[in-house]
Amino acid sequence: MPAMKVRLLFFAVLRDIAGADERELTLADGTTASEVWQELRASYDTLADYTQPPMIAINETYATPDAVLTEGDELAFIPPVAGG
């Protein structure tokens, strides 16, 4: 199973939870954004209750949870926005 590298960015509450601005992930080809969220839930207790991912952005554009990642993608989970 070939692997790919993806940059995962953390913002706002997720940065606090992860304790980092970003992580580099090595993922199996065909991995979806939603699957990355499930890995995060397994890593951080405080995310255990969040069975559904928040909004998802791939390469600075909103994407759906079933979006398949590709080599070099920049992935971000977008907590509920509160601008203004």
């Binding site: 913002f11 706002a12 554009t61 977008i78 509920p80 926005v81 509160a82 601008g83």
Partner: protein, 145 residues
């Protein structure tokens, strides 16, 4: 025209960037850090953003609203970082030959910014601090102001 800034907002400068000699009205909206939210005291708010994406989303809103109101020119600036009560977090200027379009364009922009632009705020008060919209993740996402 839209941008992010880490400095205090100069709203009248924003107005000067949109208004033309054919405009009979402008509407300026500013969101301001207030001293309360949901019954709790607020002292300051830290604004965080996914900067390049927030810039893209703001510019997309500006383009779409200018297409929706063809005679109307709009500009948006959102401030990031640590703001205290009374500081403006966002300014939106909409200039148009007619007032109805200026009001509608300005209102549409603030409503849409609150829906889709990846900006977040952490409120700080005497009771501690909290990222808005996360706890329970329902009904807290679009904060007034």
């Amino acid at each position: 025209m839209s941008y992010l800034t880490d400095a205090p907002i100069d709203a009248q400068a924003l107005v000067r960037r949109v208004i033309r000699r054919s405009d009979g009205a402008y509407v300026l909206f500013e969101g301001v850090v207030r001293n309360h939210h949901d019954g709790k005291a607020v002292e300051s708010i830290f604004y965080d953003a996914y900067r390049p994406m927030a810039e893209k989303e703001m510019e997309k809103i500006v383009r779409e609203v200018e297409a929706q109101f063809p005679d109307t020119a709009v500009a948006v600036v959102h401030r990031l970082g640590q703001l205290v009560v009374g500081d403006s977090s966002i300014a939106i200027a909409a200039a148009s030959p007619h007032r109805a379009e200026a009001f509608a364009a300005c209102r549409t922009i603030i409503d849409r910014v609150k829906e889709t632009v990846p900006i977040w705020k952490k409120e700080r008060g005497p009771d501690g601090e909290e990222w808005l919209g996360w706890q329970g993740r329902s009904g807290r996402g679009g904060v007034d102001g």
